[in-house]
């Protein structure tokens, strides 16, 4: 159940399933009464069908038995763990050192320290990320125009050393 939308099954709220207008505006009181009884009962039965289906279908369960299934645990796609910078096979990343993320960060958790390439142009030197002051708000990821950073799925972030919470995300300096 990585995608929360999957839980609900196929979209049930399409146009064809919109509530039909069963009670004509000029219906008599008696007719209204009986129409309401019938529609009420059918809607209750529909609800009961849904819940019993979920009850007997173990695949719909979203609860994770966490410490036991740690090895095969699949995190949701949109889970917000710590900020990571993906590196490709050659060890390169997409960060240009534009500092948009640094400006977007409300806590000052990101410091982009740029350096000078031999050609004289500015490139990324150190991308410092401070998990201790990060609220995992996702604003830096939204600000990044290059997709250089993203929210990781790691969530076991506890540490006994304060220094472990400050990290340099890039493995090597930026390229031209």
């Amino acid at each position: 159940m990585s995608n929360p939308r999957d839980i609900l099954g196929p979209q049930r709220f399409s146009q064809s399933h919109a509530a039909p207008k069963l009670i004509p505006p000029n219906a008599s009181v008696t007719k209204r009464y009986f129409i309401r009884v019938v529609t009420g009962v059918t809607s209750l039965l529909t609800g009961m069908r849904v819940t019993i289906g979920k009850f007997f279908d173990p695949r719909t369960t979203v609860t994770q038995q966490y410490p036991e299934n740690r090895d095969e645990l699949k995190m949701a796609e949109r889970f917000r763990g710590r900020v990571v910078m993906p590196h490709d096979a050659d060890g390169e990343h997409n960060c240009t050192g534009c500092t948009l993320c640094e400006k977007a960060c409300p806590n000052g958790s990101i410091s982009v320290l740029n350096t000078k390439h031999a050609s004289g142009r500015k490139i990324l030197g150190k991308y410092i990320y401070r998990l201790d002051s990060c609220t995992l708000c996702n604003l830096c990821i939204e600000a990044c125009p290059f997709g250089a950073i993203e929210m990781g799925t790691e969530f076991e972030l506890a540490t006994t050393r304060k220094e472990g919470l400050v990290e340099i995300l890039n493995k090597k300096a930026g390229r031209l």
Partner: protein
């Protein structure tokens, strides 16, 4: 689920010709032991019966609490308790221990007498109602001639617990819950009684044992099926009004977690709360057993060939099926508003139950039953 050991202490008249069940043997043995002192045998047998009843009530309440948690969890795509024992089977024990160790708080402004009295009423009425439920031909603590009227009276009693408790709490939310519960109980009691009277009309009996015996044979002799249409409508009306009587969602106006912060038991803590909580589930069992006795043939097997499975098992299977139905309702249906609740009773359920009673009378009068 341990089997209920309810000896037939008072020896119902209809049970005299049946084969002696093990519990009857116990009763006979105690009678032999006491010899001439019949009063002593009576006292001992009654005490054993009451103890068995209390044990049944507490064990079944625990099972039901666990079942409720698991059913609700799986209907809401959760797993529920998984850590305490196999699939959380020991969770009710843990709950009970926690409640046992909690401090019994006594708010300063309560009306002490009614505040302390209220938690005992629901448990008492539940146990009293359980006493007349026939688990087999002989496993029944008492079989009064007017068993159904007795149960109806007790179900009416249970609202007093809510009213007295909410008044004694001296809390406006509690009192609101109590007042709503009173309005609800007054309304739904009518259709519940009409349904019970329908069952009485169909079977022509008022004693519980005799009602069960009137459904002897195959499952199409059960009143749910045997009375064409009438039995089914009566069953549906029974389920609705029983849900209301039990104060369960979608009719949980006494509690109203969302708007009254718990309603009548807001001010209760520790064991006092546990009494309310457990009694709620014993009441659930009683209502389910009552539904099984009236409409599903009680302890009788669906086909006589299955009679080798003892009666209590059949009754509990049927009762737990109904309990599942109640839980299914609770975790599916949206809650009603108070005016919707009263409209449902007075504009729909009561007329239906009344017409159904008339139909049952007509069927009876024409000799079709």
């Amino acid at each position: 689920m341990s089997e209920p050991a309810v000896p037939s202490a008072l020896e119902p008249a209809s049970a005299t010709e049946t084969v002696a069940a093990p519990t009857s043997a116990i009763a006979d043995w105690i009678r032999d032991l006491c010899g001439d002192q019949e009063w002593l045998a009576w006292v001992v047998i009654t005490l054993i019966g009451l103890g068995a009843l209390a044990a049944l009530a507490s064990v079944s309440a625990m099972v039901l609490v666990w079942m409720e948690r698991k059913v609700s969890a799986h209907m809401q795509l959760r797993l529920g308790p998984m850590r305490t024992g196999w699939h959380g089977a020991l969770q009710p024990m843990a709950d009970g221990l926690k409640l046992l160790f909690k401090e019994g708080l006594l708010p300063r402004t309560t009306d002490l007498f009614s505040y302390l009295l209220a938690p005992f009423i629901p448990m008492a009425t539940a146990l009293l109602a359980l006493a007349v439920i026939p688990f087999s031909e002989t496993w029944q603590l008492a079989d009064p001639e007017l068993g159904i009227i007795y149960v109806a009276a007790l179900s009416g009693m249970s609202v007093f617990a809510i009213l007295i408790g909410s008044w004694g709490s001296n809390n406006k939310y509690s009192l609101l819950g109590g007042m709503r519960a009173a309005a609800q109980a007054l309304s739904y009691e009518i259709s519940l009684l009409l349904v019970l009277m329908t069952a009485v009309l169909m079977s022509g009996e008022t004693a519980m044992q005799a009602i069960v015996q009137s459904q002897e044979g195959y499952f199409w002799n059960w009143w749910l099926i045997r009375a064409p249409g009438v039995g089914f409508i009566a069953f549906i009306a029974f389920i609705i009004s029983a849900t209301a009587e039990l104060n369960r969602a979608p009719f949980d106006f006494a509690e109203s977690e969302s708007e009254l912060t718990g309603g009548f038991h807001t001010e209760y803590a520790g064991m006092a709360f546990a009494m309310f909580f457990l009694a709620e589930y014993v009441h659930l069992l009683v209502a389910a057993c009552l539904g099984a006795v009236l409409f599903l043939g009680g302890y009788l097997p669906p086909v006589p060939a299955l009679a080798f499975i003892p009666g209590p098992v059949w009754l509990l299977v049927k009762a737990f099926g109904l309990v599942f139905l109640f839980m299914w309702f609770r975790w599916t249906f949206p809650r009603l508003r108070i005016d919707q609740l009263l409209n449902l009773e007075w504009k729909f359920l009561m007329p239906v139950a009344l017409l159904n009673l008339l139909a049952a009378g007509a069927l009876r009068g024409w000799g079709w039953l």
